[in-house]
Amino acid sequence: MSEMSTSSGWSYQAGSWFAVFGPQVTVLLPESERERVIRVWATVDEGGGFDQVLDGLLATGLSSLPGFVLLGAEGGPTRVLLRGADVTVVLATGDGEVALDGSASATWVEQSVDGVTGVRIEVGADSSDDVHFPITTGLVRVGRVDRPAVASGAAGVVEPETAEEVEAAVGETPPVFEAQAEPVGAAGPVAEAEPSDDAAVALPGTDVVGADAPIPVVTPSAEPAPMDVPAADLPADVPADDAPADDVPADDAPAADPGLDLQPTEQMPPVSPDTSLAASELELPPPLGADPLTDPMPPQEPAPSNWVTPWDPPAETAAPPVPEDAPAPEAAPVEEPAVEEPAPEASVPDAPAADEPPAPAYPPPPVDGPSTPPPLGIGSWEPVGGFPPPPPAPDTDHDGLTVGGADHGQVPPPPGIPGQPPAPPVTQPVANLMISDGQNVVVDRVILIGRAPEARRFSSTEQPLLVSVPSRLHEISATHVEVRPGTGADHGSAVVTDMGSTNGTVLVQPGLGPEDLKPGIAVQLIPGAIINLGDGITIQVTRP
């Protein structure tokens, strides 16, 4: 059993917070930080290190982040950062426990601890469920997480016959029961004999799935946990058989780190080969990794369905992996030798994946438990079910990333000057501009005048005319003023607008004093008006 254990075995209890379990670090973020979770998830899941994840976490500033927990070891001492009320981290070491409270500092609490043998993180006001679900990597909703994984009554229990099947398949009878025996003791080192743990073991998980089954991208691999849950009627019996043999007093637990580390982890795999497969495969690149088409961008794909195509019905992409039905628990996964699971994946050709949404072609194994599933793990979508979820919308796929948003979003803002009606296309001449450098321009469309004028974001019918004027002293801006046929009340005459020029524009209308144009405000031009751009350039407005 020990050989199957991994040091990254976690267990969690459902709650409102998000937890991202990655190969290197673990991040917990509050419910309100969903966007941030999505961003961080990519980094964490790709194996991002502590500092890298921290950078991503704080990219938009600390003040906007009400709370978080970041924990990682990376071969050295265990580092933990935490912030926020209702955030506590307890690190168990051979010398005792180190308890940290996120509200102890206005910024954050940081601690590095050597020789950590167990971790318990509690977030949010309440930890609603008593059931511990094992997890290796992935994204889940949590109220509490433990490492090594705590066996809850639910997670640790297997129906006898199923267990035997598993054992037959795995060939490891003793570990199964041993593992089941451990949970009670195993909970100790982490939670230090906290009563609630025992309660968790004793109480079958009934309400596993919080109403908030979080993000709808899930794959079959997330389901082993649920299916174990209901079968929580054995803990009392099974442990009784083996407990004497292997029982570890809670007090000794910290010292017994290796064993404890292994056992809790171990107890997950025997329960369901599927689970163990999931756990082990999650550590590895999925078998499909070599296929760029079906496995293009792991961080992006498992995002919520609205990641790429918000207008798509989420059901099309997200729903299939979450079977609603509840067939005989465990039968399906157990009877299928775990070894065979990867086979379909490996044989998945590119073509089908590209030609049709793969989900229907590869229905997830109907292994769901009798009750609704527990909070689902995003990170666990990859291998177990034998097929990664399709890109959210393969048919609008744009190099795998960009998608067209035909019916999405508002009409883009009209080009031109904000707050003004769009410039009309070419019209009858409404005025004539005599520029002091000798140019003569008819105002029958948008005219842009300046040292090196540019026209931006116009439509094909507008046909703006760019008129360059000399400016030796550079007093005239590149695009200084716009003159165009007026609309509405100004219909039939020309209007002039300063385009935000550096040195401004002076307008002298017949019978009026000089007027400084305000940038972006159009002024109707009367024949005889003179526009002064500076640098000796004036424009006289005449009738067409």
Binding site: H398, S459, S460
Partner: protein
């Protein structure tokens, strides 16, 4: 027309993730195009190729340089029709309407106005046109994307856009049901010594500072294009990456020395000169 020399360079790479390069580009002076195909049963490469072919016809047949925007608009309409035809022939009618293939396009071509040639630029989608003048990089085109709309509306900052989950959702495209209407831009040549047309596989993988650095370090447009695409691939290559770099040489603004220097460097690179 003032004689203007255009020195182009172009590069494209499928990237590290995609199997098919759905980008396409056209270098047919004075017409330059980058198109980024999307969608429908990996027919995105067909859509972008259609766009490039249509612009190729435009370059071949010539166009009324005084009415460039109209010529480009007609080209875009032709491309859109062909993409729709292709979809009708090859698409699966049972698919949703959004399944049709499509393409972005950025195009740059010289047009004539009364006092000389100008760049006419056109943009549909989220491929981009930058200009690089006096060491300063300036994004000319404005993306037709959700995040750009959010930025315009002041709801997110430009820096947040790079991480926005909907950053790949575009609001206009050729083909499909999206609007294919282009935005046009007119620039004096002197204000755009060097133009960069690129797909979002470049602009999405390396930031503007990096683009500016590469454009500044490589005098030869071909090197610059190669290096841009290389950097985008090195940065992860999550998407097809295509860059077309066009230098304007021989303007009155240029000193003869500069023009000569650039020409010589090209010829030296070709081995025509020692």
């Amino acid at each position: 027309m003032i004689p203007v020399e255009l020195h182009p360079g172009a590069a494209t790479d499928v990237g590290l993730v995609r199997e098919v390069n759905e980008d396409a580009y056209l270098v047919a002076p004075p017409v330059f195009v980058v198109a980024d195909g999307m969608g429908g049963h990996d027919h995105g490469d067909v859509a972008s190729r259609i766009v490039v072919e249509e612009f190729g016809k435009l370059a071949e047949q010539g166009y009324d340089a005084a009415r460039g925007a109209e010529a480009v608009a007609a080209t875009l309409v032709a491309a859109q029709l062909r993409i729709a035809e292709y979809d009708a022939e090859h698409g699966d009618p049972s698919e949703r309407p959004t399944s049709s293939s499509g393409s972005t396009v950025v195009a740059a071509l010289l047009v004539e106005q009364e006092d000389g040639p100008r760049w006419l630029l056109a943009n549909v989608g989220d491929s981009r046109i930058y200009r690089f003048t006096d060491g300063v990089l300036d994004q000319v085109s404005v993306d037709h994307s959700i995040v750009q709309e959010l930025i315009d509306a002041g709801r997110i900052s430009p820096s947040a856009a790079a991480e926005h989950p909907e950053r790949h959702v575009i609001t206009r495209a050729l083909g499909g049901t999206a609007s294919g209407e282009a935005d046009y831009f007119l620039l004096p040549l002197v204000s755009a010594e060097r133009l960069l047309l690129c797909s979002d596989g470049v602009s999405g993988m390396i930031d503007d500072a990096e683009i500016a650095r590469i454009l500044g370090e490589h005098e030869d447009p071909r090197d610059a294009a190669d290096q841009l695409v290389g950097a985008a691939v090195a940065a992860g290559g999550r998407d097809n990456a295509t860059a077309v770099v066009v230098d304007v040489v021989g303007l009155g603004d240029d000193t003869p020395y500069d023009s000569d220097a650039q020409r010589v460097s090209l010829e030296q690179k070709l081995g025509a000169l020692p």
